[in-house]
């Protein structure tokens, strides 16, 4: 499996007229979408199910659909409601490998909707089967469930879905949740990684086959101030999908990663996030959810925004898969003999030792740095064809061009030390580099 970059279409593509949004998503480079069943059966609709016939208007989008049959009342209509979106995806060759079943509001008191949620989840599984979607996110039950009773209630709920999921080759993904406590969000079900891992293992053991996994929501981890490296490392390969979204750590939003900034620093622990996923060798689905950011942008700028979102996702993918790229090659050399080379050697020097490093500065040729001989670039011409050159210098494109112009045809990769498994306490100044 290779890491696919998907887009959460909510707020980008309209349900009944999805053409423009889906084309923008496909043109930006996304490989697929998260099929969000909440687009046809929102938490708002569920909140008022059986209470009032005409939904209190929440937003323009919802009011446009007031006349259609409510999926909450007719779960069998779930697939039909999503069909225009799915057909448009097919047309644009977008994958639909993961779906999210309808879910309740965080502050709901609708503990009476368990059977409705179960029915909606069942219908979502059937839809997954129809469209060849392998994963379905189903949130744990929480409404009006007493503290300490969460596992019991969710166990019963999930196991009731296991048979249908297995029959349809769909894996159910649990997702970390916040809990609303008198106006603020605190840790909820599956927020503690150990608990989530234990739930999944027990569910799989009881189901008799691996039909439960995990979807890690980075936004929820950030809201709960969690150490995302720890979180990912505890859950390990149970994590099949990751939702990438940013927030200020206090309010739940779906902002474009790296855009929640304070004091010149991101408010989200992207370092821990990347460390964790890199450590576990994550290669599942990377779902970009930036619906809050998109909602503030003019329609006119949406295509550019979606393209930029794809660039951001691609960058994160590159960072996560850094170690997997190192693993791909049996032999490697580095280009660059400064801090980035030093950081490479600190974190990966033992596991993936380079043959040598090289540098354009002829004064340093023949020197040893971090246990590596510094050779002139010309020496790269003598490398065997399967040996990769990892550029450890921020002038990636220029150096790559230089090497290609020298006639080097072998693999060239970019190494980057922005998100490393660990750091030195200091950084070498330029004069210290050669002294060392």
């Amino acid at each position: 499996m290779s890491m696919n970059i998907l887009c959460a279409p909510s707020g980008l593509a309209a349900l009944e007229r999805p053409q423009k949004g889906i084309i923008d998503i496909a043109s930006a480079g996304f490989e697929g979408i998260l099929v969000d069943a909440a687009m046809c059966c929102s938490d708002h609709e569920l909140e008022f199910l059986g209470i009032c016939q005409n939904l209190p208007q929440k937003n323009r989008e919802e009011s446009k659909h007031r006349n259609r049959a409510k999926v909450s009342e007719h779960p069998e209509e779930l697939y039909n409601n999503l069909k225009p979106l799915l057909e448009q995806c097919k047309k644009e060759h977008l994958l639909t490998p993961i779906t999210r079943a309808p879910f309740l509001r965080r502050n709901t008191k609708r503990g009476d909707l368990k059977s409705v949620l179960a029915r909606l989840a069942e219908e979502s599984i059937h839809m997954c089967s129809e469209i060849g979607c392998g994963y379905l996110i189903v949130n744990p039950l929480f409404a009006e469930i007493g503290r300490g009773e969460e596992w019991k209630a969710s166990r019963e709920y999930y196991l009731s879905l296991a048979g249908t999921a297995l029959e349809n080759n769909v894996m159910i993904l649990l997702q970390n949740q916040c809990r609303e406590l008198h106006g603020r969000l605190v840790r909820g079900n599956c927020t503690e990684a150990e608990e989530a891992a234990a739930w999944i293992d027990r569910l799989n053991a009881e189901a008799g086959r691996e039909c439960f996994g995990f979807c890690m929501d980075a936004g929820i981890c950030s809201l709960c101030g969690q150490d995302m490296r720890e979180f990912a490392s505890v859950l390990g390969n149970r994590i099949k999908a990751v939702i990438l979204r940013d927030c200020d750590g206090h309010y739940e939003t779906a902002m474009l990663p790296f855009t929640c900034v304070n004091r010149g620093q991101s408010a989200t622990d992207w370092l821990g996030f990347i460390r964790g996923l890199r450590e576990i060798g994550f290669d599942g689905l990377l779902i970009m959810d930036f619906s809050t950011t998109a909602s503030a942008f003019s329609q006119f700028l949406r295509p550019q925004l979606i393209r930029f979102a794809w660039d951001v996702a691609e960058f994160i993918k590159w960072q996560i898969s850094m170690k997997n790229v190192l693993k791909k090659y049996d032999k490697r050399v580095l280009f660059g003999a400064g801090n980035m080379c030093r950081n490479y050697m600190k974190c990966y020097g033992d596991e993936f030792p380079p043959l040598f490093t090289c540098d354009n500065n002829k004064d340093r040729w023949g020197e040893w740095f971090e246990g590596l001989e510094i050779k002139p670039p010309e020496s790269l011409k003598l490398l065997p064809p399967d040996c990769a050159i990892f550029i450890c210098n921020i002038y990636y494109r220029e150096i790559e061009q230089q090497l290609r112009e020298m006639g080097i045809a072998g693999p060239i990769e970019y190494f980057n030390d922005e998100y490393m498994p660990s750091y030195y306490f200091d950084r070498l100044e330029y004069w210290e580099v050669s002294e060392q």
Partner: protein, 318 residues
């Protein structure tokens, strides 16, 4: 019997410490958390500045704190816990400061703790996960520090308490050392087995836990009898404000946005019978000076409320 305590900072001063202890007693406290950390501020340390307070000999320090000890005794206040200055390691700080913290401040703090006949001293774990890359590696460094003072703790009959802390990323406070109750419990057991004595325990800080949305009840229950001391204070879930419990609400329902019910349930479950200690020194600078006695009295009242709720027989029996 459950005691009620509060920090000495902003109440007990070095010129007339006995007056501060009398004020605490009159406000309704039976115990105090001696703010030893006030003698070496963390703000200065992070700026690589240190004062020379802890360069004094142990005898000189004992002499300095004798009026404090006598004042507490005379007022009938038990020094139940104290806070070692923190940090005890400045990441990337110069060697001189880190040597001073480790080799002077820490052992002398233990000596002062013993001098006060205080059973618990709270320390801060090292904040090194950013550099070292993993919480476990960070803990190994804290462990080295604990190992350096644990023999003293055993000899002096003191329990060192680790505390759940936070760290900051772009102004967003996130979990720091000791925020995993299960791991903390395992680590405490390991150390205590190793030393054959209760040299390590836990200090649960409600404000720090609230900032990162930790489930109070679950955390306290996991710690069980390893929970020795408390830092009770409240905040808005965003900043570490050290304010009076029940003073923050986030919705029109105007219910407390901190899970005090879970706090009570947790302490009740583990049959907590130690000291309900408030770490609310900043409250005393927020209120006007003439209201200090009233404010302290109100905090002590909240302590009594907690105490009654924790010990409610009808709930315990049910």
């Amino acid at each position: 019997m459950i005691g009620i305590g509060v920090q000495t900072k902003n109440v007990v001063n070095d010129n007339h410490p006995e007056e501060g202890f009398v004020m605490l007693k009159r406000a309704g406290f039976s115990c105090a958390d001696f703010s030893l950390n006030a003698y070496l501020s963390n703000v200065s340390l992070y700026q690589s500045e240190k004062n020379d307070f802890f360069t004094q000999t142990i005898q000189e320090l004992e002499l300095f704190f004798t009026p404090h000890k006598q004042g507490a005794e005379a007022a009938g206040i038990t020094i139940n816990q104290m806070h070692m200055p923190y940090p005890v390691h400045v990441p990337g700080g110069d060697r001189e400061i880190n040597d001073y913290l480790w080799n002077q401040v820490a052992p002398k703090s233990m000596a002062v703790c013993a001098f006060f006949e205080c059973p618990y001293i709270v320390i801060h774990g090292f904040k090194l996960a950013h550099f070292l890359g993993a919480e476990e590696l960070e803990w190994q460094e804290t462990l080295k520090f604990i190992d350096s003072i644990a023999p003293l703790a055993k000899e002096m009959g003191i329990t060192i308490c680790i505390e759940n802390l936070y760290d900051g990323i772009g102004g967003h406070l996130v979990e720091g050392p000791c925020c995993n109750g299960k791991k903390a419990a395992e680590r405490i057991d390991y150390i205590n087995d190793k030393y054959g004595a209760e040299v390590l325990g836990f200090c649960f800080d409600t404000g720090h836990a609230n900032i990162v949305g930790i489930d109070f009840e679950g955390f306290i229950t996991t710690l069980g009898s390893r929970l020795k001391v408390l830092h009770i204070h409240d905040n808005d879930g965003i900043s570490d404000l050290h304010q009076i419990p029940f003073t923050f609400a986030k919705s029109r329902e105007n219910l407390s946005s901190t899970e005090w019910d879970g706090f009570i349930r947790g302490l009740r479950k583990i049959q907590f019978d130690r000291v309900l200690n408030f770490e609310t020194a900043p409250v005393l600078t927020a209120f006007p000076e003439p209201m200090k006695r009233d404010v302290l009295g109100f905090i002590a009242d909240i302590g009594r409320y907690f105490c009654e709720e924790i010990q409610r027989q009808d709930v315990i029996n049910s």
